[in-house]
Amino acid sequence: MLLQLNNIFKWVNSGGQRIFLLKDISLTVEEGEFISVMGPSGSGKSTLLNVIGMLDGFDEGEYHFLDESVHSIKEKHRANLYKEYIGFVFQSYHLLDELTVKENLEMPLLYKKFKGSERKAMVADMLDRFNIVGKKDLFPAQLSGGQQQLVGIARALISNPKLILADEPTGNLNSAQGEEIMGLFKQLNDEGVTIIQVTHSEKNASHGSRIINLLDGRMI
């Protein structure tokens, strides 16, 4: 088991009212799974992903990640946990505009106490693996959307996470590029990386091993 959510509730208080963003979510994810989260806009997909990624908290329920109880550990420890095990991929890539491809890839490593030589090797490895060696000195603005997302995924993978969380990774891409990214995910999954992706497309979802449907913050 990689992670387990037990009866998770998340809400916000607005104008004296309690608005539920997640309602009674229970979910177990095994290592090596490829899960697609689906549902209409505003149904809580991103919220769920953020909770799983520990970027966002929740108000009720339990969350176990590997052997740790996320609901009861300290903020700092939690940060270390996701730093080590989780990689994020975003719809709008979120590459840093002022940094080159190479520097964008290196950035997460700077926060993880790798030596300069190690970082270099890991970045070179990643550039190689994604076939973007020729683009290493370009800035994000000089890449197409698909290429940028490629760099985004490479950055998520660079410190060998167990879990990739991807929120509509193909949302800004045309179908051909989207297809490429999905192929890449499939390949990563085959190599043993667990993937949870949010998607609107049935076709993309079909790449996965399991589909979770959300409606108004509830699993259906």
């Binding site: 970027l55 966002d56 940060a79 975003f90 590459l95």
Partner: protein
């Protein structure tokens, strides 16, 4: 259209209360400081500016000092004025002032003291061009025993009645009465030579209190002399001629020298000035600080407005999409700027009105908008308007430049240039801050240095009493009574010791004689260096806690004065003496007389700490100018001092029933000699604080801008594992770099400025390296505190917020 813009502007200001407050507040502080300082600067510059003042000059004497002619003192000879007028047709008229010392006016048998009066020539009203409120200025000072009063003194003596034709007496000579022939209104006059009362110069010939002085020879040189030259006279040329001119019978190695009366207050600092003058360098420094503060507040305004503009990008985009053209947008934002600036100016003027009384008390002046001619404020007003427009135009320009399509997609990217420009502004602010900080530290260090520097005398618990005995002549009976007074005082348990002297440390030049011509023990006669002397009783040195390097005080003889003198070390050095002990008992000559040196007193600072020790001879004399009292240990408490003071006054009036009475604490008077500098240091401090406050506001603005700009980046980095500390480091390291850069630039500027300022002191503190370090660290600390407030907020924001995909 205008209405709509105003409505939007007002709403916007109200919606962003913190931003509006910071912005308006910062501007208001800057403008208010500027106006306050400029009122002061203008006041200092307005001294002796009156109708025709450009043609009025003061004549003073240059002395030969070490082979070179240098300005000697502020006075000229009694015959200087008439002789020069005779010789040079360019000189239309002259006025001499002879100060009347210890002036006490008697009216209806009541004594009035504390009045500043002079003998003055009848052309006074011609030269100074002042009309009389009452009386005829053509004749007012023509006849002997005529007196002109200021309105304030006339009011004090006669109330609302008409003083013209009334008579008064002046203590010292009971046999004559003076007739009041005029009342002059000089309440608003700003001059270095102040007079409450003028006595016609012709009185001089017969008036008993100047009995020995009235001979018109080249021997009398205590006359402030002012000349008025014909319009369009080449003053430089005339001055050259005056300096080259050697009058008949004039045997001194001295020259007459003219200086414009308008320059005296700020540029002249000679011995025997009519009053302590201002300092041009202090005024200049303050003016510079005023400009810096003002510019800082504008920089701030630009920074804040542009940083805030990001939030308005959407509004601008929409406006452009619906057809607004750039000039229209610029107008809109200019109008907004105008609104903010108007509010700030109004606030600033209100603040000035509220703060003016405290500021006046602080600088010891009486500034108001009324005393400053509005005309002279015009250039400052122009600067203000120009600066405000410039400051307003910049944000309007930047804001209106946004590309609508990008803006609406949420991709606000202001150009790198404008960001660099703003960083440059911040660096400038830091340079100013660090320079001001160094200035404050050095000024305070210098004041402390002067305060703690040993004076060479113990002024603690020493009081100088002086009063005018009104019913006595200075005859032998008076001197006997004076001895009785001292004996009485010594017997009092609260009083440790009592003596008398002509002057004392802290009394500055007043009451000291300046002299030229001295024959050393080795027979060499020096005619070119000025030295000083005064008289004192033998126990003066002991009471003042002065120490002897060799010898001792005057040998007490049966007589009350002797030919014994004590010289200070500086005097001994001047005479080329190396072995001090050998000087004791030696004979020196001056005033056509032999004097025996009984002792060499260790150098002490008679003239305050701003001036170096001058060569001084102290003669054995029973002078009655000042009674010096050392209070006993018993009187160390507040009530003890009060009791002692009460007792002193009782004894004084017992011995001299008809007299005035004044007293001064010596330590206070001594310290008052650098009051100007202390005030300056304090003003420096206040305006430094304000400048720092303004700079912090600006930094606050820029940080919030940077944090918004880098919101996404911060989010991405956090998601990729950056900790809060790492984010803080990332955000703050830029500011540290800027402070570092500012520091490097500020060091030479501040060193040079303070080095120049210290030149005005005889004793200078060192500008130590730690002053710079402290200023740098203070600036850095302030910057980090200001910045961290915002960057901490940014660093702790949940990245989910900043990375949400639209």
């Amino acid at each position: 259209m205008l209405n709509l813009f105003l409505k939007i502007a007002t709403r916007y200001l109200l919606k962003n209360k913190l931003y509006s407050f910071i912005n308006i507040f910062g501007l208001a502080i800057g403008i208010a400081s500027f106006v306050l300082i400029m009122l002061y600067v203008n006041y200092e510059k307005s001294y002796d500016k009156f109708d025709g003042s450009e043609n009025v000059y003061r004549v003073f004497m240059d002395y030969l000092e070490g082979g070179e002619y240098v300005p000697g003192d502020a006075n000229a000879y009694i015959v200087s004025g008439p002789t020069l007028k005779e010789e040079f047709p360019e000189i239309e008229s002259f006025v001499r002032f002879r100060r009347i010392r210890n002036l006490v006016v008697m009216h209806n048998n009541t004594p009035y003291d504390g009045i500043v009066g002079s003998l003055a020539d009848s052309e006074y009203f011609d030269v100074f061009d002042r009309g009389l409120v009452k009386g005829d200025q053509r004749t007012a000072l023509n006849e002997p025993y005529s007196v002109v009063l200021s309105t304030a003194i006339a009011q004090k003596l006669f109330g609302d009645g008409n003083p013209i034709g009334q008579s008064i007496k002046i203590a010292g000579d009971d046999s004559v009465t003076f007739t009041i022939t005029g009342v002059m209104d000089n309440s608003n006059r700003n001059t270095h030579i102040k007079n409450d009362l003028l006595v016609s110069f012709k009185t001089f010939h017969t008036w008993k209190i100047f009995e020995n002085d009235w001979k018109f020879t080249w021997n009398q040189n205590e006359y402030y002399t002012y000349i008025k030259v014909a319009p369009n006279t080449d003053a430089k040329l005339l001055n050259q001629k005056v300096m080259a001119f050697v009058p008949e019978g004039f045997e001194f190695k001295e020259k007459h020298h003219m200086e414009p009366i308008e320059d005296i207050h700020l540029h002249s600092n000679k011995p025997y000035e009519a009053e302590a003058n201002g300092s041009a360098s202090s005024v200049k420094l303050l003016a510079i600080i005023a400009f810096i503060t003002l510019v800082l507040s504008w920089i701030n305004y630009m920074n804040l407005s542009t940083s805030k503009s990001l939030e308005r990008a959407k509004e601008i985009g929409i406006r452009k999409v619906v057809g607004a053209r750039r000039p229209q947008l610029i107008w809109q934002f200019l109008l907004e700027s105008a609104l903010i600036n108007c509010i700030a100016i109004i606030l600033a003027i209100m603040a000035v009105y509220i703060l003016l009384p405290s500021f006046n008390r602080f600088i010891g002046q009486n500034l108001s908008f009324a005393t400053v001619p509005l005309k002279s404020l015009a250039p400052y007003f122009f600067i203000l308007i120009a600066g405000v427009s410039l400051a307003a135009f910049y944000p309007a320009f930047v804001l209106s430049k946004y590309n609508p399509t990008k803006v609406l997609k949420g991709k606000v990217q202001t150009s790198k240039n404008s960001l660099d420009f703003r960083k440059g502004l911040i660096v400038c602010q830091f340079i100013a801050t660090i320079v001001l900080l160094v200035g404050t530290f050095v000024a305070n260090k210098q004041i402390n240095y002067l305060k703690n520097r040993p004076i060479g005398a113990d002024l603690n618990q020493v009081i100088a009493l002086n009063g005018q005995v009104l019913d006595r002549a200075y005859d032998s009976i008076f001197y006997q009574d004076f001895d009785v007074l001292l004996e009485e005082m010594k017997r009092n348990p609260y009083i440790a010791d009592a003596t008398s002297a002509r002057t004392y440390p802290g009394d500055n030049f007043s009451n000291m004689n300046s002299n030229l011509g001295l024959t050393f023990p080795d027979g060499h006669t020096d005619e070119t260096h000025i030295w000083y002397n005064y008289g004192a009783r033998p126990d003066y040195f002991n009471l003042m806690g002065m120490n002897f390097v060799a010898g001792d005080t005057f040998l007490q003889t049966t007589e009350k004065r002797s030919n014994n003198v004590v010289v200070n070390e500086e005097m001994a050095r001047f005479m080329g003496i190396i072995d001090m002990d050998a000087l004791v008992g030696k004979t020196i000559k001056f005033w056509g007389q032999d004097w025996t040196v009984s002792g060499i007193v260790k150098d002490y600072n008679h003239l305050g700490m701003k001036s170096a020790v001058v060569p001084t001879i102290i003669r054995h004399d029973r002078n009655t100018q000042n009674v010096l009292i050392k209070l006993d240990e018993k009187a160390i408490t507040m009530t003890g001092v009060d009791k002692a003071l009460g007792k002193l006054e009782r004894i004084w009036h017992q011995v001299f029933p008809v007299s005035t009475y004044n007293y001064t604490f010596l330590d206070q008077k001594f310290e008052a000699l650098f009051n100007e500098d202390r005030k300056f240091a304090k003003a420096f401090q206040i305006f430094t604080l304000l400048a720092i406050l303004i700079a912090s506001l600006g930094l606050f603005g820029l940080t919030s801008y940077t944090c918004i700009q880098r919101k996404k980046e911060i989010g991405v980095r956090k998601v990729n594992g950056a900790t809060i500390t790492q984010i803080l480091q990332l955000l703050n390291q830029d500011f540290i770099k800027w402070v570092g850069l500012a520091f490097v630039v500020a060091i030479p500027i501040s060193w040079f400025a303070m080095h120049t300022w210290l030149e005005g002191f005889a004793y200078k503190t060192t500008i130590s390296w730690w002053v710079f370090a402290l200023a740098g660290f203070t600036a850095l600390a302030i910057a980090l505190l200001t910045v961290s407030w915002q960057s901490f907020k940014a660093a702790t924001t949940n990245p989910v917020e900043s990375l949400r995909d639209e």
